[in-house]
């Protein structure tokens, strides 16, 4: 349940909320429809869960629609997703036909909402074919990419480009994630909700409860990495870094991720992690259910240092979460981590387990720097990566698109 906009005033300041209200006044009554492929789970659903009610709070007529499909459709869209991120996948003409057919079925259901909408935002590739099926559309259509498509498997991008190139605009998290397209490509980084269960302040009792649940020693430093068990998150490299630090400091490590029951690759990575851990009682490998938001929140708050030692990363919102909790982050020098971790200011960028170990040891020897970096990081997130900034950018883009102007300065 998203808090009303007024609840954020105490965090971001009155001026920011007033600014949003003014933007809302300019767009009052505008019909906006967001379309994605799932109402639960995943980053896109998390964003739409707060964005839709907050847009309504600002006076817009915002709604959120979800496309439906069978298991085969979602296997195909998973392959498209992997292909866009560079993995070679085999998609036949029949697969693309199924993709279109499912979009067609959904179009029949959604047509009344989409035809008259002033703005339609299609999220990710699953519903991307809807635009081509709605020739009578009246509003502006925007394609929102939530993944890094900078180095796609070309056959997949070639097909998808034919679909998304017809939109009025597209949106990417970062310039480095984009592809050339024949329309304006806006850059809007993602954000976190500071009042969500994953990020809200927790009481000392709540923190102690989680500490006790996992048997963490309050007298020793704690390192935490929260991420699924995926080779690109390099959990084995994190264990190696821990071992290098453990020789000289009595640290504890938590690796917290989701269960890997239906993911053969995830299971293999987890096996590798357990082998690397080799029964060390100070390494806690936690397989958490998907709704463990409060537990993740507590672990990040109990940490002295947050790790995100990825070798490939999207934006890396776990980094944003860690910074918001006032912790320095030691992160891999990739993707959106680079945008958030500024060496010596909010943490350190590293390339190897040795580099991570070196920086952990540095911070453990300079406890005052942990506090300073934590404070800097929290303010950095407050200014740039909370949902109020995300909402502001989205509304501004709509204003600009509706104006039809290409001028450098737009007076509204």
């Amino acid at each position: 349940m998203t808090a009303p906009l007024a609840a954020y005033e105490g965090i971001v300041g009155a001026a920011v909320v007033t600014q949003l209200r003014m933007l809302g006044e300019k767009l009052a009554g505008l019909r906006i429809v967001h379309v994605n492929s799932t109402r639960e789970g995943g980053g896109v659903a998390e964003i739409l869960e707060w964005m839709t009610p907050l847009m309504r709070d600002l006076g817009l007529d915002a709604r959120w629609e979800v496309i439906h499909g069978d298991a085969r459709f979602f296997e195909i869209t998973k392959a498209i997703h992997n292909g866009l991120q560079g993995k070679p996948v085999n998609l036949s003409a029949r697969d693309w036909r199924i993709h279109k057919d499912v979009n067609e079925q959904n179009m029949e259901r959604l047509r009344p909402a989409l035809v008259d909408a002033d703005i339609v935002v299609i999220h990710d590739p699953q519903p991307a074919a809807l635009l081509g099926l709605c020739p009578e559309r009246k509003g502006k259509w925007i394609w929102r990419a939530h993944i890094d498509i900078s180095r796609p498997f070309r056959p997949v991008w070639k097909f998808l480009r034919g679909l998304v190139g017809k939109y009025d605009a597209s949106v990417f998290h970062m310039a480095e994630f984009a592809q050339p397209l024949p329309h304006p490509r806006f850059l809007i980084p993602p954000s976190i909700d500071p009042l969500s269960e994953k990020n809200r302040d927790l009481s000392p009792e709540e923190l102690e409860s989680v500490r006790g649940e996992f048997g963490l020693d309050p007298s020793r430093p704690l390192l935490v990495q929260v991420s699924r068990f995926d080779r690109f998150k390099d959990p084995v490299g994190v264990v190696e870094a821990y071992r290098l630090v453990r020789k000289v400091a009595p640290v504890q490590l938590v690796l917290a991720g989701g269960r890997a029951t239906d993911d053969p690759e995830g299971k293999a990575v987890l096996d590798d992690v357990m082998e690397a851990v080799d029964g060390d009682p100070d390494v806690h490998v936690l397989l958490l259910p998907p709704d463990s938001h409060k537990t993740v929140n507590a672990l990040q708050r109990l940490a002295d240092i947050i790790l995100q030692k990825s070798t490939r990363e999207g934006f890396g919102l776990t980094v944003t979460e860690g910074l918001w909790k006032g912790k320095p982050v030691i992160g891999g020098d990739v993707g959106g981590i680079r945008l958030q971790v500024a060496n010596r200011h909010t943490g350190f960028l590293v390339n190897t387990p040795e580099g991570a170990a070196h920086r952990i040891r540095y911070l453990l020897h300079h406890r005052d720097r942990i506090r300073q970096m934590g404070e800097t990081g929290r303010e950095f997130v407050r200014e740039n990566f909370l949902l109020t900034r995300h909402l502001r950018d989205g509304l501004t883009m709509i204003l600009a698109l509706r104006s039809g102007s290409n001028a450098r300065t737009l007076y509204v």
Partner: protein, 217 residues
């Protein structure tokens, strides 16, 4: 004095149509033909972007050259350029190209960035709106600035310098209407070394300058 109208602005950033530059020569060649708004964005609009508040250099070209080409000397030469010192962006472009050409002639080989580290050219639309708030008395200016968004401070103190009267911030232009009585404020604002500041520091410096003008140093 006519009341000061507080405006607010939001930067809407988008990709330019230029392909990313993978090496120093491509950077030079793209800069030679890019739209003026691309130059403006990478030199002047960085304080309002969602990036870390205190980079070593204020313009993106110097940051890229330093971080991804590893050329510290070139980063220093580009990093010291103050775009507000130039009468036009064409003049600034010409100086930047001179610096890049000189560096290319000094180097035995063209430095390249790794895949994923290319320079992506961007530009932005500044969306401006009236907040409806007004300042009637110069003594109300400091409290109003304290409560403004970063967008308002940027629009009135930095972006203003591109609008007539060119080279002057909106606060000074308004205070100048007050004649002698406001001369101290205008003089104090004129001492701020604004280009190399983050928004947080710029706001603090403006408030400090106004306080000194009000109460004496």
């Amino acid at each position: 004095m006519t009341p000061f109208e507080i405006k607010d602005c939001i930067l809407l950033v988008r990709m330019s149509n230029l392909l990313p530059a993978v090496n120093l020569r491509e950077l030079r060649d793209r800069l030679a033909v890019c739209d003026e708004n691309v130059l403006y964005h990478h030199f002047c609009e960085t304080p309002l972007r969602a990036i870390f508040d205190a980079p070593d250099y204020r313009n993106d070209f110097a940051v890229w050259v330093y971080q991804y080409l590893g050329d510290r000397a070139l980063a220093e030469r580009l990093g010291i350029l103050d775009p507000y010192d130039f009468a036009s962006f064409e003049e600034l472009r010409s100086v930047v190209l001179d610096i890049l050409d000189e560096r290319l002639s000094e180097l035995p080989m063209v430095p390249w960035a790794r895949p994923g580290d290319e320079f992506c050219f961007k530009q932005a639309t500044t969306v401006v709106f009236d907040t409806g708030e007004r300042i009637a008395d110069p003594r109300e200016l400091a409290p109003a600035i304290r409560a403004m968004t970063n967008g308002s401070v940027y629009y009135h103190f930095l972006e203003a310098r591109r609008r007539p009267p060119v080279g002057t911030d909106d606060f000074s232009a308004w205070l100048s209407q007050g004649g002698e009585t406001c001369g101290g404020y205008v003089k104090a604002l004129g001492t701020i070394d604004y280009y190399f500041h983050s928004m947080v520091h710029l706001r603090a410096d403006i408030l400090h300058a106004l306080a000194e003008a009000e109460n004496g140093p």
